[in-house]
Symmetry: C2
Subunit: 176 residues, 2 copies
């Protein structure tokens, strides 16, 4: 079974972007580059919702050579750029198949709506956050309301440069 | 000037209690006792809003010997228990006076609504969180929406027992 990790850099109050989608407040450092590179070396597949895609698109091309990228949308009619695969069918069934198949780890990009669906379907294995030293006040939340709590196990935490706190959790599945 | 610290234990998705007010999911340990004791040894005054008071009250008496406790409410007509001071006037002016006076540090209890008012008035100096390894899904949020971002400086972080992450921040005041 492949590992599906949901995560993002977020403000201490849990936002991943301003309401406008802007992420100009994110703090970059060699630590962030190192942590991101180590993570992405284990990944070959990237998932995101349509809104997250569009925010990413404003920053440049989203498709990255070496990764298979899927964008989930019921409103888009065709893949919005070369190298991006549009998935219009049910995200839960698609990700369940993907996760059960062969391949490296799967990165679910922040955005929250797709993640809430996949958390509810118990298809997320890990959660990673890079908590920025900032209260953004309002914006796009990393986590959406969910009907049931999800227990986590901390597997790694590290203080990064510029006051960022990195933490990675494993989703506990008490029944298993 | 006395230091006003806002903080609480919270889930990774930023809740300090279930919607019912229940905090049965909080993880306790010797680390938590040590961190709390170290912090409370620097404090002599505790502030909270009426809702937070009522949640605390269900767990027992809120007033603690050795601390001056203030509960802010426009609806309560008298102090609800011995040792608790009811403040019905404007919280901002009251806390500004308190902060400018003599005394040890001031602890602002989680609950969010009073904190949002005091953040807006620039009366909070530090933020402390003990992030529990859990997505609660819904409940009482630690941070409420605010109109302006608040920049923080990480001054301490530590991994506590049972997968909790403790972090303390100083509020940056760029103009000063």
């Amino acid at each position: 079974m492949r590992i599906v990790t949901y995560g993002a850099a977020c403000s201490l109050d849990g936002y991943i972007a301003r309401s406008s989608g802007a992420v100009d407040w994110l703090l970059w450092s060699k630590d962030v580059t190192r942590v991101n590179s180590a993570y992405l070396s284990r990944v070959d597949t990237i998932l995101m919702g349509r809104k997250t895609y569009e925010i990413g698109r404003e920053l440049g091309a989203v498709a990255t050579p070496g990764y298979t990228t899927y964008v989930f949308s019921r409103t888009l009619e065709r893949a919005p750029e070369s190298g991006v695969n549009l998935i219009r069918e049910d995200a839960t069934a698609f990700v369940a198949d993907l996760r059960a198949g062969a391949g490296k780890e799967i990165c679910l990009m922040g955005g929250g709506e797709l993640a809430a669906t996949l958390f509810a379907a118990d298809l997320i294995d890990q959660v990673g956050v890079n908590i920025q030293p900032l209260l953004l006040g309002e914006g796009v939340p990393l986590f959406r309301p969910m009907r049931r709590p999800i227990e986590l196990e901390l597997i790694q935490t590290e203080q990064l440069a510029r006051g960022c706190v990195y933490a990675v959790y494993r989703v506990r599945r008490p029944g298993l």
